[in-house]
């Protein structure tokens, strides 16, 4: 089994070097998606199933889609078939990295094993059975709240940048519309299942949100202008519902004297409500990141000043 892991590690290192080498951007993007999928495999090999799900859905899936969208926009503004200038040869960097990794590994392995936070001991009091969800939504809820705020900031930032001047032109054929009808319902059902499953097994708001975002990206690509391109009343509440629910929960528990401590017996309900709100927000915000700009009619003529 170790041989397979060594092979997997070698392939991932090779893909990483290949991604960073060379001039053509499209090659780098495609190899980066392969890198993300292989990394998801490695998370699974390490036993971190939550991370495998997240890496595949967010690391390879959504980031790959964002890279492709940005590449398409770049290609339409500048003839960026190959980037100007010569790419520096990576071999010295690879050697330095190998040396540093060897030294680092020896140092880390020589550390005497330290204890770890007592997650299993307090799991019962957290309200959920799955340790990772317990850490994310109960023990370190303040981190996750700020993380949802980071996503909201990203969504607002993309709107602030203005309208995408020339949205993609290729209209979708009948086959793509047909695929939509098959895949989108399945993705939605899978997302709800992942969200519910997060309380007792790997899964949770982020993976569910990424799946919903994948469905949204498909719709965004098939029906031009997609849901993100026309200003709609549901967009702003949907983008902030995750942060609003979480902040409200923080304020209410702060009023009850111990901030971010979910009430006894009700903690599972609170956690699932927060996760549901977060999943919706994450999906809409990742779709906004993919759309790459503010809704078309919303921006005034001058992108500089009064953008909504």
């Amino acid at each position: 089994m170790v041989v397979l892991d060594a092979l997997l590690a070698l392939v991932l290192a090779g893909v990483a070097v290949a991604t960073l080498n060379g001039l053509r951007r499209f090659r780098a993007v495609v190899l980066f998606v392969v890198f993300g999928l292989l990394l998801a495999l490695i998370w699974a090999r390490l036993g971190a199933v939550d991370l495998a799900l997240a890496e595949a859905a967010i690391g390879a899936g959504v980031t790959g889609a964002l890279l492709m969208a940005a590449l398409d926009r770049l290609r339409r503004t500048e003839s960026s078939r190959a980037v100007a200038g010569s790419a520096p040869s990576l071999w010295p960097v690879v050697l330095v990295a190998l040396a540093a990794a060897t030294v680092g590994m020896v140092a880390v392995l020589s550390l005497e094993p330290a204890g770890r936070p007592p997650v299993a001991f307090h799991l019962g009091a957290s309200g959920v059975d799955h340790p990772v969800t317990a850490v994310l939504l109960a023990f370190r809820a303040w981190d996750t709240l700020l993380e949802v705020a980071v996503l909201v900031a990203a969504g607002v930032a993309v709107r602030a940048v203005g309208v995408v001047p020339s949205p993609p032109s290729t209209e979708a054929g009948p086959l793509q519309a047909g695929l939509l009808r098959l895949v989108v319902p399945v993705l939605v059902v899978l997302a709800v299942y992942l969200l519910w499953r997060g309380s007792h097994a790997p899964g949770g708001a982020f993976q569910a949100g990424a799946l919903l975002a994948a469905a949204g990206v498909l719709v965004q690509l098939t029906r031009v202008p997609g849901p993100m391109d026309r200003p709609a009343l549901w967009q702003r509440p949907a983008e902030t519902i995750g942060l609003a629910v979480f902040t409200a929960a923080a304020l209410i528990t702060a009023a009850l004297d111990v901030p971010l401590a979910w009430p006894e017996g009700w903690s599972k309900l609170w956690i699932l409500t927060i996760e549901a709100g977060a999943a919706i927000s994450i999906a809409v915000l990742l779709m906004r990141l993919f759309a790459g700009g503010a809704p078309v009619a919303a921006a005034t003529s001058d992108p500089g000043k009064g953008r909504s």
Binding site: P117, H122, F139, W142, A149, R159, A160, L260, A261, G304
Partner: protein, 462 residues
């Protein structure tokens, strides 16, 4: 009512404000000002609480310290929070006169404010990472709000630099967590992690605090940011990274010497560049690079236990935030009036605005460390600490640096006090813009006189 409630409210209130502003954009200005007032009350509550019954710490969610995220407030944290509240209020008031209601500035600024206050109250290494990322992202996008090309380029470069810094910091936290199994900064101080953790984390923080020679991204970003954003960036955002560097220097004190060297380099290089550049906001941005040098030197002295250095650094951070905020708000008003900030050409638009000239004068006095301003008191404590620790080179740099900063600030004041008549037609400047700049300048002068209450406050931490 647990003692840390006002601290948590200081971080949560801007979040609530940002959500409301995003949902109801037409009331943005009113909501933002109300949020700013709330944050000021919360910050004063924290200062009062720390002054009365000393530093306090608690773990969120009622979990044990080894598991949950700790938030803590001591004398130094209270002063940084106060600076964030006061400069934030001035910047919000200024923004109300500068930006229209339906502008993305409001949501991004309130999210940035929440991140800054979260950094000032956190006692957890990874929580600081997430807060720093939120601050870095929102600050970089605020720089690009101008919409024109070079602001966009400066913002993108700032975002990538902040991502590199955050990854370095994360690597340091990962090494510390692997070695000690804990993420709480107090526990890290106790069983000190391997030196590599401190080096990586402090490297990332030095990059985000634009400490010389990693300062390259700061002048273009701060000079090209629109209106109050440059004041927010220079006065508060770089302070958040510096505050965390203080915490981590206590975890890895061996890096203090490096901070002294970088600090000296920053003071000299920053001041020289400020003498050379030809634009008003660039002068003030380079002055930030120089003043960060002072703070780094003071930090190293404080960590090495020089008497009074902690008070000096905390007071310098507070007064620098106020003075730099006043200077940049004044500069933004000049840019609003003149339409450009080429210097000394734009000075013609400054001459016929007494309020702005007074604001610039008082701010310059504090930045240069002249009595009676707050800057003088801070530099006095630092000089005293350097003398006490027999660090004559540092004492010379602190004193000499004051001279250098007086030189580049003279470049601003001299054309402003020129007796020739003011400029031709200049664009109207709403009074709230000028008065918010003057308000900060008056406050920094007041802080030169009203000092005693702060000494025992900072004493609480040391």
């Amino acid at each position: 009512m647990n003692p840390l409630l006002p601290a948590l409210v200081a971080a949560l209130l801007p979040l609530v404000g940002s959500i409301l502003v995003w949902l109801v954009p037409s009331w943005s200005r009113a909501l933002a000002v109300v949020t700013a007032a709330g944050v000021l009350v919360a910050a004063l509550g924290v200062v009062n609480r720390v002054a009365l019954d000393g530093a306090a710490m608690m773990t969120l969610g009622g979990w044990p310290e080894t598991l949950g995220i700790g938030i803590a407030v001591d004398g130094v944290g209270a002063l940084f929070l106060l600076a964030s509240a006061v400069v934030g209020l001035a910047a919000t008031a200024y923004g109300a006169g500068y930006f229209p209601a339906r502008h993305p500035f409001w949501t991004l600024w309130l999210l940035l404010w929440a991140a800054l206050n979260a950094v000032f109250i956190t006692a957890d290494a990874f929580n600081a990472y997430v807060a720093l990322e939120l601050a870095g992202l929102t600050a970089a996008v605020l720089v690009t709000l101008g919409g024109e090309r070079d602001a966009m380029a400066a913002g993108l470069r700032y975002l990538l630099v902040s991502l590199v810094g955050a990854t370095l910091y994360l690597a340091g936290v990962a090494v510390a967590y692997t070695a000690t199994g804990t993420l709480s900064l107090n526990a890290l101080m106790a069983d000190s992690p391997p030196m590599m953790a401190g080096v990586l984390a402090l490297g990332g923080l030095a990059l985000k605090a634009a400490l010389f020679p990693l300062h390259g991204w700061l002048p273009p970003a701060h000079a090209r940011a629109p209106g109050p954003v440059s004041a927010i960036l220079s006065a508060l955002v770089v302070k958040a990274a510096l505050y965390l560097a203080w915490r981590w220097l206590e975890v890895a004190p061996v890096a203090a010497e490096a901070f002294i060297l970088l600090g000296i380099g920053a003071v000299i290089w920053g001041s020289l560049q400020a003498l050379r550049v030809g634009r008003l906001k660039a002068i003030i941005a380079w002055s930030t690079v120089a003043q960060m040098g002072y703070l780094a030197v003071g930090l190293a002295l404080a960590v090495e236990g020089a008497a009074g250095a902690a008070m000096g650094v905390a007071w310098l951070a507070l007064t620098h935030a106020l003075a730099k905020g006043a200077a940049f708000l004044g500069a933004a008003s000049v840019v609003r009036a003149a339409g450009h900030d080429r210097w000394p050409l734009a000075a013609a638009h400054l001459r016929n605005r007494p309020v702005l000239v007074l604001a610039f004068g008082l701010a310059a006095a504090s930045l240069a460390g002249l009595p009676p301003s707050g800057g003088f008191v801070a530099k006095w404590y630092l000089l005293d600490a350097a003398m006490g620790a027999e660090r004559w080179l540092l004492a010379a740099v602190i004193a000499g640096g004051g001279l250098l900063s007086a030189a580049y600030l003279y470049r601003i004041l001299h054309p402003a006090l020129d007796p020739r008549p003011g400029a031709e037609a200049s664009h109207p400047v709403p009074p709230v813009l000028e008065w918010s700049a003057l308000g900060l300048a008056l406050l920094v002068t007041a802080f030169g006189v009203v000092v005693p209450w702060a000494r025992d406050l900072v004493g609480v931490a040391a």
